[in-house]
Each structure stands twice: as structure tokens, then as C-alpha cells.
């Protein structure tokens, strides 16, 4: 009987602890930081989370997401936001701000906006890295006469084999038009018309049967490594890391699609001050310059760029040589047309 009672008591207290979450009292409140996972989160952990936890004693809990801001919206509507800092891409940095999902930032708590590269100090989000979408190929497959321009990605005669692309219209439609000979300045003008969209899809049609689609940033290097594809679009840092690990991949910088990633604070976060403190720490030029060591993304502060190891610089999207033909994506265009073009894209995929 006694042991039975004991077990009952144990179970009950365990239940209470698990179900209601007993927090041990701590001086600094813990932070939940949401980011993209994989090699990117690894680099953030080494560059920011670990040093910050060491310095302040704040416990950081990491969470991974796949741009699922729906969860944040539901949390906000429910009045229980459990995320404190979130790493967002530029499209969501803008739309999340419009929809009231993020706090409006008080830059006096971070650093003066003039310290950041133009376009990275937004109302609700502050830039953390510059990254780009490039295409890369397996150099074991193409030993000589390697792909060097965007047109090669669409040329299955010269470069036969499967290629992987991101399963979204975003970025792909621009590349399709550019590869079809549209001057960079006219891409969005053209995409705003039905004929332009038709033309982009027609171009994609020419390689459709050779495309494998990827969704998570960690997939492209894996697809290249296991021979599933010979070429793939990817975020440059993921390929950079695979190269560091000894993979014989090469990046083609022609028409790289340049973009930023940002820190944002979810509206109604319970630890706004803690979040600001963390973002301030992560935006410090010295700390910021550390991240490039772990993944080939560039800092967003002028002083930080100067501190990056010159050996690493040529692997970053901001390197002048890499920037020559870079494309900047028009976020407002995508905010307006994403829903529609995504539907069209899905209909096209199903054909």
C-alpha cells in the first residue's frame, strides 16, 4: 500500500511539473529564439547564443521554423506569445510588420540606424546577415567546361542532369526571365503583366522534367552530395559549409539573388527587454563579424564588414567580384503577388 501511495504521489507531482511547467527561479529570464535550423542555426549558436549565455547567464532556448508565421499569429491572437526573438527573411520582415506581428523597434536600444547598411534597419526588423540565393554544381560531374552563367542552369543540352530548385515561385520566376534574355531592369515590370508571367513559366517548362524541388535550406547540399542532382539553387552559406567539409561543389555567383535576414521581436513577447539586449549583443560589430567564420554570410554593419577575416571575404555574397551581376528581389512585388503566383505555380507543378 505504501509503495502504491508513493508511486501515486510521484506520478502526480511529475504530472504537475510536466503539464504546468515548473520554472526554477532564475535571475535572468530565459529567451526563446526562433531560427531556420541546420548549419545556419549552428553558426548563430556559436557566434551569438553561446557567448551571450556565458556572458549574461540567460538561458536561450532554440526553436526551428520554416517561415511558419501562422503559429506566431495564433499565439498573438491567443495572447500567449512564447517566442522572444525571431530570425526572419525580408519578405516576412515586411509583411509581419504590416500585419502587426512584430514590435516596432526602438533603435536607441540597439544602435543608431546609420550604422547599418542601407535597407537593413527596418521599422520592425534589423538586419543580421546578407545572404544570397545562388546556384551550385557538383564539380566531380562537370570537370571541365564548368557552368559559369545563369543560362547554364537552364541549358540541359550543354549540362545534362537533374537540377534542384526552391519549391516557390519567388526567385525562380526572376531567374527564368533573366535566363530568357530579359534585362535586369525590366524583370519586375514584365512579371507584373500576364504575358511576362507566361514567359517565365514557359522558360521553366524547358527544364521542368529535370527539376527536383527542395523546401528546406539544408536540402540542396544533401541533394548534390548524394547524386540526386548535378546542379541546385541554394543559399550560398549552405554550399559554403559543404565545401568546407570537403565536398567538391562550386558556386556560380552570376545573377545571385541578394537578400537579407533580420532579427525581429514578436509583438506581445513576454521578454521584450531581454530580446532587445540580445539583439544589441548580436548587432555588436565584433560579435557580428564572428558569424562569417561559421557560415559564409556577410554582416550588415559597416564596421563589422571591415572586421571579417580577409580570407573569408571572397566567399561572401558582398564581395565586389561576386556582386557584379547580382539581382535584388522586389519585396513589395512579392507581397502583392505571392498568393496569386504561388497558386499559379502550384497549378503549373501539377500539370
Amino acid at each position: 500500500m505504501k509503495s502504491e501511495l508513493l508511486i501515486k504521489a510521484l506520478v502526480a507531482s511529475a504530472a504537475a511539473a510536466c503539464v504546468f511547467g515548473v520554472h526554477s527561479a532564475k535571475a535572468a529570464e530565459p529567451l526563446t529564439i526562433v531560427s531556420w535550423g541546420g548549419a545556419y542555426s549552428d553558426s548563430q549558436r556559436k557566434a551569438y547564443y553561446e557567448p551571450y549565455m556565458k556572458q549574461t547567464g540567460v538561458k536561450i532556448t532554440e526553436e526551428e521554423y520554416d517561415a511558419e508565421l501562422g503559429k506566431l499569429k495564433a499565439m498573438k491572437e491567443a495572447g500567449n506569445v512564447t517566442w522572444d526573438v525571431i530570425d526572419v527573411d525580408s519578405a516576412h520582415a515586411l509583411s509581419g510588420c504590416d500585419e502587426g506581428l512584430f514590435e516596432k523597434l526602438d533603435y536607441s536600444k540597439i544602435a543608431d540606424t546609420s550604422k547599418f547598411l542601407p535597407g537593413t534597419a527596418l521599422d520592425c526588423a534589423v538586419g543580421t546577415i546578407a545572404y544570397s540565393t545562388i546556384f551550385a554544381f557538383n564539380a566531380d560531374v562537370y570537370k571541365d567546361n564548368q557552368p559559369s552563367v545563369l543560362e547554364d542552369l537552364f541549358d540541359t543540352k550543354k549540362y545534362p542532369g537533374k537540377r534542384a530548385l526552391l519549391k516557390k515561385p519567388f526567385g525562380n520566376l526572376e531567374w527564368a526571365l533573366l535566363a530568357d534574355g530579359v534585362p535586369a531592369g525590366d524583370v519586375y515590370k514584365l512579371l507584373a503583366t500576364p504575358e511576362g508571367v507566361d514567359r517565365a513559366f514557359k522558360k521553366l517548362d524547358t527544364i521542368k522534367s529535370d527539376i527536383v524541388w527542395w523546401e528546406a535550406g539544408a536540402q540542396p547540399p544533401e541533394l548534390l552530395a548524394n547524386g540526386q542532382v548535378v546542379m541546385t539553387s541554394a543559399f550560398n552559406g549552405r554550399i559554403g559549409n559543404a565545401i568546407k567539409e570537403g565536398k567538391n561543389f562550386k558556386i556560380v555567383w552570376d545573377r545571385q539573388e541578394f537578400d537579407w535576414d533580420y532579427w525581429a521581436i514578436p509583438a506581445d513577447s513576454k521578454h521584450v527587454e531581454g530580446a532587445y539586449d540580445f539583439i544589441k549583443f548580436a548587432s555588436d560589430p565584433k560579435n557580428m563579424s564572428q558569424q562569417s567564420k561559421y557560415i559564409a554570410y556577410a554582416p550588415t554593419r559597416v564596421e563589422a564588414i571591415a572586421m571579417v577575416d580577409p580570407k573569408i571575404a571572397p566567399t561572401l555574397p558582398t564581395y565586389p567580384e561576386n556582386m557584379k551581376t547580382a539581382v535584388t528581389t522586389d519585396l513589395q512585388f512579392w507581397a502583392d503577388n505571392n498568393e496569386d503566383l504561388t497558386k499559379r505555380f502550384n497549378a503549373w507543378l501539377a500539370q
Binding site: A15, C18, V19, F20, G21, T32, G37, G38, T61, E62, E63, E64, A74, M75, E77, A78, G79, N80, T82, E215, A216, A218, Q219, E222, A225, N226
Partner: protein, 290 residues
């Protein structure tokens, strides 16, 4: 041994019947192979020392098992899975057994309709259940527009969701045990002076115990396997083993998923054996012999 060439056919079977029979055995053999081989094939791959999902060539290693048993991500996932499965099993088994007992009483009103309602969580696609719960858990009390209670991103929420998904299995298994149940045994117990509680403990429980335990096992497995509800309504705090495997495949992180798979297969074997033993016990108790 003269049995096999006969193919289990009577002596009067014709040659074409024999040929057909041979084909039938071969077909069934292939189907059984199809059922079992994918599961067996991940086992050797989990011993591959290289970080690729292929068979080990010259060497084998336990590195992925080491990762599975000692890496925080995986151990936390296992811990979460155990906690959630444990509580939802207890809840589902109690609720389901009570309901099955009630349902199997003679003359239960609107039995078919009630049963249909109770089984429905098993039928409705889990994504829909998860989506509906996602909205519901944001403000489950629904009395005020500002919620007094929120179940999204909590253990309680995931446990309740899994309880919901698991109860149909308990209801089905326990009801099945009770269909052969002789109600006169209860009356006999009562007429001999046993209180209802005593009759339940000494007469009903031993008889339905195998059904309850296999129902509980089904409930456990339902929760242990479930990933969609965790994806929709859980946060990283409630990251379970299947959830971890899901992102493992999606992001192709490492062959640790094969080690995890191997461990889960071992667990499935244990479950299978337990259920089989229980089934035999029920048959013995009821005096049925096969």
C-alpha cells in the same frame, strides 16, 4: 515432410491446381517479403560508419546509436515522447475502458450512434483534427475573447490531443473483449453477495484485463507515433521522437534517423509479442482454443 510437395492439397488435386497453388505461395511469399523487408533493411544501414544512408561496406560502427542515446536533441525527444505517451495512455485507457463497459451493457440507448461519435477521431484525417485543435486550443474555454487558458504549445495540449486520437483504439479493443463476455458472471458475483466494486475487481477486471492492456498498448503507440498534432500545436518544448525524425528526413541531417528507426523497431517487436501473449491469455480464459 511429404506435406510440402503436396502443397497442402488433397490427393485429388489436378496438375493445374498444383501449378496455381505454387504461384499462389510464391505470390504470398513476395507480399510478405514486401511487408517486412523495408523494415529490416534500415537495420544494417544504422551501423554504417559514414554519414551516408547506405550499407556499411567494410566497417561498421555504433556512432549513430551513440548520437541517438547521448545527443541532447534525441534524448529530449525521447523524454518528451515518453511523458506525453504515458499520460495520454493513462487518460485514454481510463476513458475508453469506462465507455466500453457502458456500451456493452444490454439495451444501451442509441448505441450505434454513440459508438460512431466515439470512434470518429480515428477516422477524421489527423491534419484536420490538428488544424481544428490549433484554433480551439488558442482559447479552449471560449467564455471570454481574451483567453483564460491556452493549450497551444503546452504538454497538456499535446496530451489531450493524443488522448483524443487514442481513445477509439481502446474502445474498440475493450469492446471486442466484452462481446464474448458472459453477463451472468456479474450477476452470479452479485448474488453471492459481492459489492459492485468487488465484482468489478474480482470478476470483470481479470476477464477484460487483456483487452484493456492491449487497448493501452494501442493508445501508447498512437501517441508514440503521432507527429502531425505535435507539428501543429506543439512547440520545440514538446518536440517528440517522431517530430525529430520528421525534420531529420526533411532536412536530411544524419543517419541517426536510422538508429532511431532501429530502436523503434525493437520496441515494436516487444509490443507485438506482448499483444500476442495477451490475446492467447484471453482465449485461454474464455476456454477458446485454436
Amino acid at each position: 515432410m511429404a506435406y510440402l510437395p503436396q502443397l497442402g492439397l488433397p490427393a485429388y488435386a489436378s496438375a493445374s491446381e498444383r501449378a496455381w497453388r505454387l504461384f499462389f505461395f510464391a505470390f504470398c511469399g513476395l507480399v510478405l517479403l514486401f511487408l517486412i523487408s523495408p523494415i529490416l533493411i534500415v537495420l544494417p544501414i544504422s551501423f554504417n560508419p559514414t554519414p551516408f544512408l547506405s550499407f556499411p561496406k567494410d566497417d561498421w560502427s555504433l556512432r549513430w546509436y551513440e548520437d541517438f542515446f547521448f545527443n541532447d536533441r534525441w534524448t529530449t525527444a525521447v523524454k518528451n515522447s515518453v511523458i506525453i505517451a504515458f499520460f495520454s495512455t493513462i487518460l485514454a485507457t481510463s476513458l475508453g475502458t469506462l465507455a466500453a463497459l457502458g456500451l456493452s451493457r444490454p439495451n444501451f440507448p442509441a448505441r450505434a450512434a454513440v459508438m460512431a461519435v466515439l470512434i470518429s477521431p480515428m477516422i477524421v484525417p489527423v491534419v484536420i483534427t490538428a488544424a481544428a485543435l490549433f484554433f480551439f486550443y488558442a482559447n479552449p474555454l471560449m467564455v471570454t475573447s481574451q483567453p483564460l487558458l491556452i493549450l497551444n504549445n503546452t504538454y497538456a495540449g499535446v496530451i489531450l490531443a493524443h488522448t483524443l486520437l487514442a481513445t477509439p483504439f481502446v474502445v474498440i479493443t475493450v469492446t471486442a473483449t466484452l462481446t464474448g463476455f458472459d453477463q451472468s458472471l456479474t450477476r452470479a458475483g452479485a448474488s453471492l453477495g459481492g459489492s459492485p466494486a468487488l465484482v468489478f475487481r474480482r470478476v470483470i477486471l481479470p476477464l477484460i484485463a487483456p483487452g484493456v492492456i492491449s487497448g493501452a498498448l494501442f493508445a501508447f503507440v498512437t501517441s508514440w507515433d503521432e507527429v502531425i498534432c505535435v507539428l501543429f500545436i506543439g512547440s520545440s518544448d514538446q518536440r517528440t521522437l517522431p517530430r525529430q525524425m520528421f525534420s531529420g528526413i526533411r532536412e536530411m541531417i544524419s543517419p541517426t534517423i536510422t538508429a532511431a528507426a532501429a530502436v523503434l523497431i525493437a520496441l515494436a517487436v516487444v509490443m507485438l509479442v506482448t499483444v500476442e501473449l495477451l490475446r492467447r491469455r484471453t482465449e485461454r480464459l474464455r476456454g477458446i482454443r485454436t
